[in-house]
């Protein structure tokens, strides 16, 4: 069985047992999800890339002591949230979010990603923080209610209640944003 076919927990176990390729496989598997989270929480795509790099650097040391009390993605999610909070505390008061994007000054080709992220971020910012988390984890990342509750550190009933409220709020905001066809 190749590393890419292994489950998340099996990959982490392989990494813990000293397989360096297992960590590369973890990066390939989770970098998009971590980057998306960072794009939603931060105001700059380059900053999101730096934050993603920091998350995996912390994962390189932190996952060696992983005890499988949660899923590996839960651990990465919480680490991404912490890293982005630290970045936001250090960011300048005037953000870059309202600056028009120039494709020519975007050699990394992240304009489309930034636009998507901006739209999602604008909508999610209108939600309270907990509802925002539930939308990202349950609706966008397709985590189960149980996994979402574990990542957020709350009960499953709380996740369902938050999701119900968040969905209702999002529909209202989407209507106002004119995205409804």
């Amino acid at each position: 069985m190749s590393l890419d076919e292994k489950s998340d927990a099996q990959l982490v176990r392989a990494f813990k047992s000293g397989n360096p390729e297992a960590f590369d496989a973890l990066v390939r598997r989770f970098q998009d999800r971590v980057f998306r989270l960072a794009c939603v929480w931060l105001y700059d795509a380059e900053l999101a890339a730096d934050a993603t790099q920091d998350v995996f650097l912390r994962g390189f040391t932190g996952l060696k002591g992983f005890r499988f009390r949660s899923t590996p993605f839960t651990w990465l999610y919480r680490t991404t949230k912490n890293v982005c909070s630290e970045y936001n505390r250090r960011r300048r008061p005037e953000g870059l979010e309202h600056e028009p994007l120039d494709p020519q000054s975007d050699p990394g080709g992240m304009v489309a990603e930034v636009e998507h992220a901006q739209r999602v971020r604008e909508l999610l910012r209108k939600l309270p923080p907990r509802q925002r988390e539930v939308v990202i984890l349950r609706m966008f990342e397709d985590l189960s209610v149980r996994e979402t509750a574990h990542a957020m550190g709350c009960r499953e009933g709380t996740v369902k209640a938050l999701l119900h409220k968040a969905t209702a709020n999002l529909k209202v905001h989407l209507q106002h944003a004119g995205l409804k066809q």
Partner: protein, 136 residues
């Protein structure tokens, strides 16, 4: 999920990490110094092995000494042992009756009159004595 939310989700899922990011992460990880705690498991294991190797001869020697010594009696064997009390013949009742008991001293009789002291007698004598001018 409504269409709007589906569209929002699709937009979110379109976000992907830049292609060079994995290479950057790999390079950054390779530059990391070895963790400070990496020597702990090796040292701990070595110490444990050394401790076992040092204690093993003592354990073997102790076991050999125990096999050479006579076995200690079990607790049930010890409980079966009873101390032998010296047998004494109980005296018979006739022997007890024949034992002479000294007579108890007689109890003093209670006095019917108040004991008179010499001071009281002299006082009575003085009262009975007639004065010298009584019969003149």
């Amino acid at each position: 999920m409504s269409k709007d939310l589906e569209e929002l989700k699709r937009g979110y899922r379109k976000i992907s990490a830049p292609p060079h990011l994995a290479t950057r992460i790999r390079a950054e990880v390779a530059d990391q110094p070895p963790s400070r705690g990496s020597w702990i498991p090796i040292t701990t294991t070595a110490l444990a092995v050394a401790a076992i190797a040092w204690m093993l001869p003592f354990a073997v020697l102790q076991q050999a000494q125990q096999t050479a010594k006579p076995t200690k009696p079990s607790l049930s064997a010890l409980a079966a042992l009873k101390p032998e009390k010296p047998k004494r013949a109980a005296p018979s009742l006739s022997q007890l009756r024949s034992v002479s008991i000294p007579a108890a001293p007689s109890r003093p009789k209670p006095r019917t009159t108040v004991p008179r002291s010499s001071i009281d007698t002299e006082f009575e004598n003085e009262l009975l004595e007639e004065p010298s001018h009584a019969h003149t």
